[in-house]
């Protein structure tokens, strides 16, 4: 141990800055541009999401429009070298169109898992697995599974 910040600490700090400033802070201009590389790639894209930082901003803007009070809480992180994994839960109230579903006013709580890769202080790659099936059930857009 050298006592200096390790690479793993750096990527963890970058993850928290992204969540605090871009997602919860709604800063899709300055903070997003600073923290995400222009050639960013989402390896598990949202329907219609192409490569690039601007496409990520578009997806986030769509979430903010659907859930204006969206709050993303990181519950656990692991970091190694240039990668950081986060287990998160986001909550929000469905007040606008989202994935073609008109506002329901429903409160939702959705688990999301991400593995991000960073280079030179910017996120270059992400993989997100979100409980979209659970989200659609909470919006009443998909039937809940029958109890056994």
């Amino acid at each position: 141990m050298t006592g200096t910040a390790t690479r793993a600490d750096d990527v963890r700090a970058l993850l928290h800055r992204f969540i605090d400033e871009v997602v919860n802070g709604r800063d899709l201009d300055r903070a997003l541009t600073e923290l995400v590389a222009d050639d960013f790639v989402e390896q598990i894209p949202f329907p219609g999401q192409g490569p690039g930082r601007a496409e990520l901003a578009g997806v986030l803007a769509g979430m903010f429009a659907g859930f204006p009070d969206l709050r993303w809480t990181v519950r656990d992180t692991l970091a190694e070298d240039d990668r950081v994994m986060a287990y998160s839960t986001w909550t929000g109230t469905h007040r606008g169109d989202f994935l073609g579903i008109p506002a329901t006013g429903n409160q939702v709580s959705v688990d999301a898992w991400t593995v991000d890769r960073h280079r030179n202080g910017q996120m270059t790659e992400s993989r997100i697995i979100m409980d979209v099936a659970g989200l659609l059930m909470q919006l009443g857009a998909m039937p809940a599974p029958a109890a056994n």
Binding site: D76, L78, R83, Y87, D111, V115, A133, G134, A146
Partner: protein, 139 residues
Amino acid sequence: MSAEENKQLNRDWIQKFNERDWEAEATCRTADFTAHMQGAPGPLDGDGWVGYLGMFVAGFPDVQIAVDAELSEGNVVCSRWTITGTHQGEFLGVPATGRQVSIVGIDISRVVDGKVAEHWAQFDGLGTMMQLGAIPAPA
């Protein structure tokens, strides 16, 4: 346990599942093992876990899990993986379609004394249902 040992335990555990060696699979978990799984109504104990795995094996008898990447820190290991299999039995209420599926997911395991004590996992349930034709794919 080092990070490398945690990863090895995780890979061994998955290998035992792929081999359907249930006795060896159980030895990778602590007696008070708890799992927090997508779709499960609450935390699962060892018996509940075996039942959860059984649900996948019943729906996809040839199911295999391939680890795509791993991270480990302290007593925790994270992996992302791809499940492949052929839908030959009922799964989440969807009768067998004969379709091949490829499902991505991520999990975390907490390791105590060389065994998995606690486990969390999430997989692409929506993509699974689209691949089974149970819900329409986005336009």
